[in-house]
Amino acid sequence: MKPLTHRHRALMVVTGLSLAFTALACRLVDLQIFRHTELSREAAANREQIVHRPGRRGEIRDCNGNMLASSQSVRIVAADPTITTSNAAVIARQLAPWLKMDEASLATRLTGTGKYVRLKLKVDEDTVAQIKALKIKGLVFEDQFLRTYPNGPLASHVIGFVDNDHKGVQGIEAGLDKYLSGVAGYEVIERDRKGREIRANRDEEIGPRDGLNVVLTVDQVIQHIAEVELEKAMAEFHPQAGVIIVSRPKTGEILAMSCRPTFDLNNPGAFPADARRNRCVSDVAEPGSTFKIVVCSGAMNDGLITLADRFDCERGAWSFAGRVLHDSHPYGVLSVEEILFHSSNIGAAKIGITKLGAARLYSYIRAYGFGHKTGIELPGEVSGIAHPLAKWNPLSISRIPMGHEIAATPIQMMMAMNAIANGGHLLKPTLIKSIVDENNVPVTKFQPQQVGQPITAQVCGLMATALRRVASPEGTAPKAAVKGYDVAGKTGTAEKIENGQYVKKYYSSFIGYLPAADPEISILVSLDNPVGGAYYGGSVAGPVFRGVAEKVTQYLSIPPQFPDVDEKKVAKL
């Protein structure tokens, strides 16, 4: 065999190298051109990570800027059992006191085959810092927001709460969820071998946008006053439920809204659904005598009666359409003013039947806002029941003027009384003062919104004259009188209906405003089925009204109309 020459050997090497380089080139073309998209995506997935940054939910504040709800940053403490299993007992012993968990159950969780197990939710930052100082390998800390309510149960029905996804479930949290919710952002980051972000290689960065802050018209001090007084009433009269609303009649702003039973916002799940219901907007009941303001003011507005017109109240029993109507006391002939402050059912019915008539009465019922929602910014509001005229029976015209055969929510009654207090303007109730951004710059401001004018200012003045006497010694609610102040109001005592029958259970209520001549505040008190003897609105709700009014007038520095002041002593000062 002829030995290979130098030339041949060189040719073989060159051919071999050429083939190798050609194969390499082909491989490169395949990887870099044909499979480029697929491989670059795979490489990016190995290297890059999309981190979502949730936007912080906005705060809810009272009218003075005091925080009522806010979102706190907390952590989820998780573990990678593939790392922790070998040392589970020791790690569990170290972690148990910080996580306030049982050591054995913690050790069980730390042992396993999965790569991720949650140990505890809602761990505060200070605790996380302490755990990090232990330098335990295999632990993971994830960001999470926790909604906190610094005042606990205060104004719980107004504020509402959120679910586990931080979405509003009830109250303002649900009603204004679109403003409160932040918008999540994201970052596309790269991590090094130790899992640390390589900040210089951050690819995309869309920052989260925090939610807007909602400023309520509610004043936490007035809310507290209402809560304390309602709690006292619950202890004294043991009703099934109770409601207090404090508002500004001239603007429709709600200063306080309190319900019983109540619940703690920081732990709503521990309370029954019944306790979480806002009875001010979602419960309807026959209003009883407080509704007499509608028939009397309507008839006066149409010029059909004056305060001095007199009606025979039939000594307490009057038969109409085959049914006997009763008064709580046997009254003879009463003026319209007396019908109001004595709260005569027969007198009110006669005004409805003989003067106003069904059609006009119905138009005033609608004009005062009954039968449709007030539009308050709370979810779950109901319209109440105001049957259309076609569905009235022959008895309706005698029952509706005294607040039967009609059902209203407490907020509807409050706004009807506010219309009388403010010169006849039916206003939309509002709980929202403004919506502000993180720098307290207002994004939206809420102005008083008039939805109707059922009666004239002149009629309001006449109504105030009569309603002032309700809280006088001759009226139905002398216990509602507030020393030094001119109070106007109306009592209500309505029998409850159970299974379609009236039963000897009552809704006791009082709605009033003060000072009567230039009202600054109006207060509604309603107790559902007080027990222990007293059940009249004047005896049960009247004192509660006074308790709230005394403290609120003092807090708001509303000057009294009849000051009990030694002027000589003042002059010396």
Binding site: L68, Q72, G152, I198, R199, Y485, L573
Partner: protein
């Protein structure tokens, strides 16, 4: 001629080396700055979290429920004054003049012949 070529080659190598070292140095600086930014971002985030936590604690300490509880615990006996325990003084003006001037004028006139009107204040007494 040969020295010139050597010089050119050296200069080219030096330039390439400088560009290379500069590139590496710059990259290094970018990573260092990135790390600094990350540290500051973490510190800012921690400060913001602490701030919200403290704001919530402050709100809790300022809440009327808490203040009332503390008053009871400390047995301070603090309660809001009633309306009857409050004396409201009017701002100097026509209403003040009409109500109090007759009472003040004689005493003031005896002293220096000038009237001094008090500033508005609210005095509470138990």
């Amino acid at each position: 001629m040969r020295f010139g070529n050597v010089a050119k080659s050296l200069f080219t190598c030096l330039a390439i080396a400088t560009v290379g070292v500069g590139y590496v140095w710059q990259k290094n600086q970018i990573y260092r700055t990135g790390d600094e930014i990350k540290k500051r971002e973490t510190a800012l985030s921690a400060a913001e979290k602490r701030n919200t936590m403290l704001a919530a604690q402050l709100a809790q300490l300022k809440s009327p429920v808490y203040l009332e509880m503390r008053c009871q615990q400390a047995n301070l006996g603090l309660i809001a004054p009633k309306e009857t325990q409050t004396i409201r003084l009017l701002e100097p003006g026509p209403e003040w003049d009409a109500r109090f001037l007759p009472a003040v004028q004689p005493a003031a006139a005896q002293k220096n012949g000038k009237l001094v009107k008090p500033a508005m204040k609210v005095v509470s007494s138990k």
